[in-house]
Symmetry: C2
């Protein structure tokens, strides 16, 4: 792990990189304990704060965890799907909000990914996941549901669909994308009429999954993608018109 450091660049970055490389390459296996901070100081011949800043960088990426106390120290962390999922959501959310990705692009990506797991979900979905979808559809039909609650339920519905594919790698990638889009979706006002239409499509999707009819699931997801995009465009257009008159 020891590498010569270039004093002209930031030391804590170099140390973090060296340790990260050791972890990624497998030289430091999961749950292996790193040397203590003092030992790392001697190894790299730097001050303790420098070592600590390097370790914090790694901790921020969930590559290590630290534990205080006598047998404590820094340990190589087994990256959990939950950790990866959280990072994915943060990254995707920031990417969407900071780069002015237009709604169409985000929507297209989301539904393209979701359609990718439709056939798998049709094959493997459990009765439990179907029940979750039905429950969310029922909730979506309730009057007086706020736009936020509506969107949250929408996410839960699609999350169940994705989980139905029973592929954790797909779930982690996709659920991140779906949830990252929620802030964008929250900006849309869903009228009672548009809600009814979406609920209809959701019902069709659930029915098709029930019947393990992959083609119909795919078709209805495509319809939903098209409808959502059109709806968003009209809502944004209307909002822009309002702003001009005011």
């Amino acid at each position: 792990m020891k590498t010569q450091l270039d004093p002209s660049a930031d030391l804590s970055i170099q140390i973090a990189t060296a340790i990260r490389d050791a972890i990624i390459s497998g030289a430091l296996p999961v749950d292996e304990r790193l040397p203590s901070e003092s030992e790392l100081c001697e190894t790299f011949e730097v001050g303790r704060s420098t070592v600590r800043e390097a370790l914090k960088r790694l901790a921020a990426q969930s590559l290590i965890r630290t534990q205080r106390g006598a047998t404590g120290g820094a340990f190589v962390n087994r990256l959990s799907y939950a950790d990866a999922h959280a990072q994915q959501i943060t990254t995707s959310t920031l990417l969407l909000s900071m780069n002015a990705v237009n709604f169409e692009t985000a929507c297209e990506a989301r539904f393209a990914l979701e359609r990718a797991c439709a056939p798998l979900s049709a094959k493997r979905r459990t009765p439990d996941q179907l029940a979750t979808m039905r429950a969310e559809i029922h909730r979506q039909g309730q009057t007086g549901l706020s736009d936020e609650a509506w969107c949250a339920s929408d996410v839960a519905f699609h999350r169940a669909l994705v989980d139905g594919a029973a592929n954790p790698v797909l779930s982690y990638q996709l659920a991140g994308a779906v949830e990252a889009m929620q802030p964008l979706m929250n900006m849309i006002t869903f009228t009672a009429r548009s809600r009814d239409h979406i609920i209809g499509l959701h019902t069709d999707i659930a029915d098709a999954l029930d019947a393990r009819d992959a083609a119909t699931v795919d078709q209805k997801l495509a319809d939903l993608a098209h409808y959502t995009t059109q709806l968003a465009l009209s809502v944004f257009a209307a909002r822009q018109a309002t702003q001009k008159t005011s």
Copy 2:
């Protein structure tokens, strides 16, 4: 941004979280300069090392960048697709290597995602991207190509296919998945016979994209997924048999 800190938990984590929330919520816009370290010390009433460790955590996630000198400081970073892409690859790679995701699961996810952008790529691929694919196919046909070089070319081919969808959100998500799988693919020995078969499928895919024939692209990707999975399984089985005899 100022929030009361709980002295029982780690201060640097709380400070990092507070600033991160401010960034994600948009309270701190892109390129906004954070208060200097000394000012943050006073705001949160902690020592400078604590503030610095918090900032390093954020820097590790590309949420901020720091600049030295008179007009320096920490600035809210505009997350670039390149940054997001790099993080995605690291996360996905670790997830696959640390969680004993079996090859079938990873492969299934990868091709499911890739098939998701096949129809878009068929519609939008540029002549340039087609040329890249043809070039990689040509390279793959050369004799004496190492397994690593073969896999790298394979990644480049699929990357061009994904980029053909002309959706940056899809590119970032998918290219990460494709590249994260490369270490797993590198573990497979590709015989001349299997290479020929894959090259044939690649050619079919390129031809179908050329003709903007989405259905055939999808079909050939499915074939490729199936073939790759079978090939991997047989390679792993053969390796296991060898180990038993030794």
